[in-house]
Symmetry: C5
Subunit: 254 residues, 5 copies
Amino acid sequence: MKNNLDKISRDGKIMLLAYDQGFEHGPTDFDDRSVDPEFVLNLTKSGLFTGVILQEGIAEKYYNKNKEYKKTPLIVKLNGKTAFQKGRDPVSLQLCTVERAVELGALGIGYTIYVGSEYEEEMMVEFAQIEDEAHKAGLIVIAWMYPRGKKVKGKEESRDVVAYAARLGLELNADLVKIPYTGSEESFSWVIRSAGRTGVLAQGGKKKEEEELEKEIKGIMKAGAKGIAIGRNIWQAKNPEEVSKRVEKLVFKD
Amino acid sequence: MKNNLDKISRDGKIMLLAYDQGFEHGPTDFDDRSVDPEFVLNLTKSGLFTGVILQEGIAEKYYNKNKEYKKTPLIVKLNGKTAFQKGRDPVSLQLCTVERAVELGALGIGYTIYVGSEYEEEMMVEFAQIEDEAHKAGLIVIAWMYPRGKKVKGKEESRDVVAYAARLGLELNADLVKIPYTGSEESFSWVIRSAGRTGVLAQGGKKKEEEELEKEIKGIMKAGAKGIAIGRNIWQAKNPEEVSKRVEKLVFKD
Amino acid sequence: MKNNLDKISRDGKIMLLAYDQGFEHGPTDFDDRSVDPEFVLNLTKSGLFTGVILQEGIAEKYYNKNKEYKKTPLIVKLNGKTAFQKGRDPVSLQLCTVERAVELGALGIGYTIYVGSEYEEEMMVEFAQIEDEAHKAGLIVIAWMYPRGKKVKGKEESRDVVAYAARLGLELNADLVKIPYTGSEESFSWVIRSAGRTGVLAQGGKKKEEEELEKEIKGIMKAGAKGIAIGRNIWQAKNPEEVSKRVEKLVFKD
Amino acid sequence: MKNNLDKISRDGKIMLLAYDQGFEHGPTDFDDRSVDPEFVLNLTKSGLFTGVILQEGIAEKYYNKNKEYKKTPLIVKLNGKTAFQKGRDPVSLQLCTVERAVELGALGIGYTIYVGSEYEEEMMVEFAQIEDEAHKAGLIVIAWMYPRGKKVKGKEESRDVVAYAARLGLELNADLVKIPYTGSEESFSWVIRSAGRTGVLAQGGKKKEEEELEKEIKGIMKAGAKGIAIGRNIWQAKNPEEVSKRVEKLVFKD
Amino acid sequence: MKNNLDKISRDGKIMLLAYDQGFEHGPTDFDDRSVDPEFVLNLTKSGLFTGVILQEGIAEKYYNKNKEYKKTPLIVKLNGKTAFQKGRDPVSLQLCTVERAVELGALGIGYTIYVGSEYEEEMMVEFAQIEDEAHKAGLIVIAWMYPRGKKVKGKEESRDVVAYAARLGLELNADLVKIPYTGSEESFSWVIRSAGRTGVLAQGGKKKEEEELEKEIKGIMKAGAKGIAIGRNIWQAKNPEEVSKRVEKLVFKD
């Protein structure tokens, strides 16, 4: 495991570029530039990102067709759901096999568990099977542990709920969990301790003011996180390269 | 993939004859002529269509028994549902295997995902498995991405909903998506950009006045679509051969 | 396929004796004679029936133990449901494998799809798998296409509903469909055209007055049906042999 | 099959000792003696019972550890449900495989289908698969056909309902059905005729007055049953050995 | 089996340290010390515990990385659910395979069945499959038989309910059941008799006053239990080592 994590780390830290929002939110997240996977994948040429997160289709039809893109390690997201089902407790199921992820050249896989959803058990069962398969194939296993659904309504970013989500990632043998930031270094530090030897990545979330983003990343990293996964705050920015650089400094500074 | 698409393209464009309405709508779509699969399959002898879409039974009992028919490439539709369940969110499941499609001589397969239906996840999961299998077998994978169900009621042909549906096709690694036309070249152009390297086919839909149909196809092709799939507008016409020719000119003109 | 159908045809026509009512309706359909499978199977010794329809148990414990019975081809009904669940939309699932049917010496298999039931998709999916298996094993595939359930309430024998049911049989690659008679030669003729190269068998249904039965069979055969499947009208009759003969003349006359 | 039945018959009759009530009803059925499987299994040493019915655990941990016990043939009950779910339509699913039953030295297997329950189809499907497997392994297949659930409320022991249940056992290819007694020789005789070549065992049911029990067994055997399965009336009795003898005489007298 | 149990027994008694609460309750059960799996696993170095219960992740990332920890036998808990779904009848499903448990070096596996839950049948079916697999692999099978859900509300620790739960463990061929204490030696003695040759472990439950805990363990062991599984009462204590010793004396005294 340790060795694997190194493949998507630099100085022990991780900074992933996420671009599966076309699946989860739809093209309303995009503008004329970011709708094009090439625009976003070209951002990885900066060499700042230690990995890029894609669904199978874009991995196959873009990432895999371009040597330059393949310099940045690939994380294939294995499940997904659309934004159409808002109002219902979310469920997201496997859409890409571990075998396919390997064929696509992935070093890791991602899978979302909506903790608190009435379907959480179903997703945990599926994740548990994928985790086995992926580890056997030598892949890094990243669990998107997202509190969501009626049972955690309004508490999606609260300390105890996120700490529980993170802990589940450890108990389920994820190598990394991707979770929401709880808003303060102190609370996030407890979350990270709850995850134990499972590393913590904070999700970037919605586009934020630069100052807010900077403050957030500082808190995340000070709390002891392994790194971040960031998407909209990069490719929705007017100057994605500059933002990438500033974020990179915050993540990798010692 | 590229090579595969060529097999059902002419000058890079695609014009498919659809004849699975007996399954989806029932014989009320037919008259004394069109109820007979031979009548419809004979229309492919014009050589104008770059492919024909059939369910397994008609592929086996008609297409496969006639050398003339086999000159036009076969797309086997792998799932289907009846019109009896109107009023419920639609679900359509696999009724024919990829293996059978290969035996029937198909060059491609089709599968409908009702985007927005409460069963969309179930269909995406099934599609994802079929997509793998079909690509391994060297087949073209066409996703019918149809917005349908309570969550998208009244927005089945709106720009953002159809663009989302098209994007899902790309993320799911479909080679082509078959989607409704959004009504204007401008909006459909955004849909096509959302689909990226996944080609877009507009569905023909209900029988229309000739002028309306012509306008629609012009808009579709100008927006940058790969082509169309057309059924009722051909075989419900008084003079299917003439309509085929006129449509063909609109699709393939440059 | 053609060759297969010949095995249960005489002069191109089919007359099947159905005796699975013990499963579908229970012994209330029987009297002191017909409760005994031997009584009913002895009726096949007349040589008038081109096949007999049984569930696995009676095929195993009676048909298969008697050389005389085995002269009449066997159709094994693979699914079934009881009459206890009246009031709910019907669902009938696989209870006997194709492999077992072959072991029992069957030449064909039957499977009911309740068209219009909220479970129709589930049955179509199961039928589709059985159809593949059965065809690979060289068996004739007969789809009982019975309109039933809330969506078709009161229209179980109407022209358009039955034509749709018959068409689904063709699209699903059934060799024969067993469907209710629509009441007139004209309407049933459209049903038969909708089924195309899939042959049509009319179901016998409840015990009728002789005159009515005769009229019905005439209409069915004139409309172009391949034949009938008949049960209660034979073995509930006082004189089953005589009725068998009369029915046989109506089916096979030219 | 015939040969198999002989293995659990004496003079063509069957008398089974049932001891799976710990699963179906819980220890409230037991007293200080009968709570101990050894007490009950020791009753088989009389040699009066032609078989004993156990769930996997007691078969493994008691029956299988004692040569004396193994002189009485073993029937392993493959499914089971608890009494906690009263008020809901019952469902009982497979908890022990046919392979395990064979390893345990069983000559037969039992499976309950709650006829009339809204889950009856699910149980029939599972039974059908088990029946195949068990017959291939050379085991006797006994179907507990118990009318139960909203649809048969108050009619659990009525002639037509029980006859239907018995008939389903035949249609499903059970070798024996275990069913409730309908209360009179006449009605039970019709039930037995409905089961045809599938033998009928009457269930013992709740503890009864000796006289009532005697009358019942007489009626059951006169009606033509193959035998009985009896539990509480034996091991809840003050003097189980004596009751065993009296019952045995009623079952085997001629 | 006997031999297997010996591997986690000392003088025929069992004392297991449970540390899967991070999964079942979340980090709210923990303080700054106990949130760290190392703190808890270090407690096993006393040599007092005859086994430790962990979920896969902690077994893999902690237990398996430290030779000292591996001196205490490992029980891997194979299913789990979160505390988020309170208010619904509980369901807990398989998250780790038997194969993985073997790879992790486990001598036994644990699986919870919520007896009385509307999902109890589903869990019993899954347990039954795991039990087979685990026994084939030579592992000890421990069934957490926890009364829970609407049907047993308020009776989770009552004599008859717990005795039924324990009996189910025997019928299902568990080697040990882990169940709640019923509060008195007398009632628990009946529970233990109901479990027959399946050994009984009492669960520790919530943190209690020392005196209460002591009284409870005395009652449990006097009633004839095989031992206990204890977690919070150990690692939530101020002085876990001392409590371990006191508990050990109560369990192993003779």
